[in-house]
């Protein structure tokens, strides 16, 4: 019987300049394990000077961010959400976002890895949100991000990763296919999710082979960044401030839904569902793990690097340099994958593996004829 534990994963995307504030707040509150990963969020640039305007039709400025991930018990969700909000002052546009998801752990964990606290905090953030996770070849995220920003759908976050898949079955020829990928994440109102996905598939040409992959994931509660542009305020309050003020006024983001503005796609898409298996282990050991997983048919995955920080300095259960792989598999295959991981000693000291899953209601990628028949 596998180890199983439900938990909440809190993801906070914070402007780089505020990273130190957040880290010290986490340490102050005795949160011993948290993951950090660098990323960026694009913002539409200010209008250029004088004639330069003709050339740069709203160019993009990339703001560096740090993506924090902490796992906690359901009762601690609100405490952590407000902790992040207060530490980075996330109610100010441009500072960042924070949101929570339900996950399920399948690996033994050290004490303190899942945060719990007695403290009761009142609920914050909006519900009714959906996250979109999208993997694209390097360099493709920017045009998509620009369109998303210009339409005011959301503020996306982009991070770097590498993909394995078809490449690895090619032998040395694999070097001819670039493995560098960009991971684009955004959080939208649930009623907009399908349209936003459709929109990204269209723009990113995800219906072609080898172009990428997209899925949506459910979100518990979230507080989102509203800063879309660097354009200075023309009115007494900037657009971003008006949006966040309205959000607070309504107590939700219902009013912001864009679905009626989206062009309805005529094409029928073959969505599929599954579970996203997140595998987190010591850097340099993910390759062999994934090679093992190929035996049970997991052919492709996206790897990104992150750092696991602990606030106590002695007795660290984990090495800080980590690799994370996101794998999407049909639900029926989960147990097979997990037992294989256990057999190969993935949870042992050698790789220090952590595994958790998130249910994915809708995913899309190019599917070969073979895939459709199944």
């Amino acid at each position: 019987m596998h180890f199983k534990q439900k938990a909440i994963r809190i993801t906070a995307i914070v402007h780089r300049d505020l990273t130190d504030l957040v880290v010290s707040a986490l340490k102050r509150n005795n949160i011993h394990y948290f993951h950090m990963e660098p990323g960026r969020y694009p913002v539409l640039a200010k209008r250029g000077w004088l004639l330069f305007d003709f050339y740069q039709n709203h160019s993009i400025i990339d703001t560096p961010v740090t993506i924090f991930e902490v796992s906690c018990e359901a009762s601690t969700e609100n405490f952590l959400l407000s902790l992040f909000r207060d530490a980075a002052e996330l109610n100010i546009p441009g500072h960042g976002s924070v949101y929570s998801e339900t996950i399920e752990f399948h690996s033994p964990l050290p004490a303190d890895y899942i945060v719990t606290t007695e403290e009761k905090t009142k609920t914050i953030g909006f519900s009714g949100l959906t996250g979109i996770f999208c993997i694209l070849p390097r360099g493709s995220a920017e045009p998509i991000a620009r369109l998303i920003l210009q339409n005011g759908v959301a503020v996306p976050t982009i991070s770097y990763g590498t993909g394995t898949g078809l490449r690895d079955q090619l032998g040395l020829l694999r070097i001819t296919i670039p493995k560098e990928k960009e991971i684009l994440k955004l959080v939208v109102h649930s009623s907009d999710a399908e349209h936003a996905m459709d929109f990204i598939i269209e723009v990113g040409r995800l219906d072609l082979p080898g172009r990428g992959f997209i899925f949506e994931f459910p979100i518990g509660r979230g507080l989102l960044n509203t800063k879309v542009s660097l354009e200075g305020p023309k009115q007494a309050a900037s657009m971003d401030q008006i949006i966040s003020a309205l959000d607070q006024l309504y107590g939700n983001m219902e009013w912001r839904k864009k679905s009626n503005q989206f062009r309805q796609s005529a094409r029928h898409r073959n969505y599929f569902e599954g579970v996203n298996v997140v595998i987190n282990c010591k850097e340099e050991s993910i390759e062999s793990t994934l090679a093992n997983l190929r035996k049970v048919g997991v052919s492709s995955s996206t790897i990104s690097l992150n750092k696991l920080v602990h606030s106590q300095n002695e007795k660290n259960a984990f090495t800080p340099a980590r690799e994370v792989a996101n794998i999407l598999i049909p639900k029926k295959n989960l147990s097979e994958v997990l037992s294989l991981l256990e057999e190969t000693g993935f949870f042992g000291e050698e790789t220090e593996g952590i595994v958790y899953t998130i249910e994915i209601p809708r995913a899309f990628s190019y599917q070969s004829k073979l895939g459709k028949r199944k």
Partner: protein, 634 residues
Amino acid sequence: MARNEKEESIHIGFRETITLILPYFQKKIWDQIKAVIWIVLYLALFQLFILRIPIKEAGLIALGISAVVLGLAFFLEGLFLGLMPLGEALGLRLPQKLGIFSIILFSILMGVGATLAEPAITILRACGSKVAPWDAPLLYFLLNEGSFYLYLSIAIGVGISVVFGMLRFLFGFSLMRILVPTIVILLGVSIYAYFDENLKFISGLAWDSGAVTTGPVTVPLVVALGIGISKVAEKNDQSSAYGVVTLASLFPILSVFLVGMYFSGKLPKPMPEEVFFKQGIKLEEAKLLLGDSYKVPSTKEVSLPKKISPPEFFIKAKENIFDAFELAIRAILPLSIFLLLFLGLILKEKISYPEEVFLGIGFSIIGLSIFNFGIIFGLNKLGDQVGGKLPSTFRSIELIDSTKFIPNFNPKSVLKAVNEDGKEEKFFYLKERKSYTGIPYHEENWNQKNKVYEYVPIHGPIFGKEDNLLGYLVVLVFAFFLGYSATLAEPALSALGNTVEETTVGTFRKSLLIQSVAVGVGLGTLLGMLKILLEIPLVWIVVPIYLLLLFLNTFSKSEFIDIAWDSAGVTTGPITVPLIIAMGLGIGNQMGTVDGFGILAAASAFPILSVLIMGMIVENSRKLSLRDSELKEK
């Protein structure tokens, strides 16, 4: 990602292989063409339209330049496949498996090894033949007889800086803590050297050797190692993998000065040529200075280019190809073997894709050989041609390489003419193709024995009279664009740019880095040129600029400081160095300066400035994304 097919082995036919490989190579080579094209076009157009001298051996140069492009493509790809993953893997494993002492030992070995492999250092020695032992004995010694000490001191300097860099990652202290004292010491030593007769002449060499050390082999390797270490380092919260490169270009300056100080006492002071030959130096001093075979070096002899017959040419070409290959092997192979052995035997780790790493090492060797060959035949030739003739913008120079030998010359055809001052001058008419040109006659060029008249054409000054201001300005503008466009092609910068883009997740674009560094190098080259033209001592350039940099540092963010200082070390590599040195020597010879050194030092100080300033601009827009609404609220 989602499908659940059992693993199938994919069969790839010949045609599919080709369709995979072709676009891959196309892209890589196209990238390099885009990098190299500017410097080539620039040099060629400058020579054709401004200096108005036809390019000699154009076919060979074109071949050489294609070799540069092809070689760069292979070399960089090999670097990313082979050496960099090795370096990063080592960086990840070292702190986990070994104690601090072993890490220090490893860092020294790697720094020394990588530096001795670096191809650009040998170029310094090439300038040695131009220095006269009596003008600057210490400089002459270090470049000729004592060049071994020079290399070793540079290599040890790099080794120590790698140690400091790794310690910095492990303990997570800021770069400024090492940088500020180092620079203060360096400036102090430079100022001291300025007042010492003998040391004065090596300060250019010392600063330049700092710039030269960090090339396409050292930089990617050291940066990759740093990335690995900083990932696992507990105390390093804001993981930044940079800063080693800049240390690696500062420490050697110091070590070269130290070696200079050591030998300074044992060598004679600078003296006039006559004193040198009569009673000037003691026996042991002469032995040290001129080596065992100490005989008086013959004064500068001008060897006239002979017509090379085709078989001789092929033998020479073969030798050159062989040399280029040997140089590449020496640079890559020992280092890779050392890294592989260390990883395998001491750390007992497997590499995740061994065949990829081996392919990468192979690619690097092939690439570096082709690249070296191309540098010798393409860029160097073109650079020498332009650099040597550059002074013709403000002075008349002899075009020695287009000397004509007129056989069966009859002195009776010599005519007389009168010049503006009323003096008589001799000249004769020469029929070339269909036109007649008047050529001044000098008695000493007439060889009565074989009846050959040797005619050295004179070119320039192109812009007005001798030593005119416009001509000098043209040289300065040329220097700026030479530095700028050569930097765009520099492989180490390209590798650093990729790493910077990768580690900053695209918030710091490669193109932005390369452009700002290139502008900095251009400015630095311009200033270095000014130094030679006006004979400004290097101290007057180095001291103010570094003080300004330290001052600017206090306003910048550590992220930009690290990248800015590193890009300075990277800028001067195998493309920039020979071109800039060719230009410096060309001008230096015309101006009669003792050493043409110091341009590189200036060319690697200014990129720090330009990247820091660019960082401030970027930082400002980032702050804007955080701040403007807050300000409004207040």
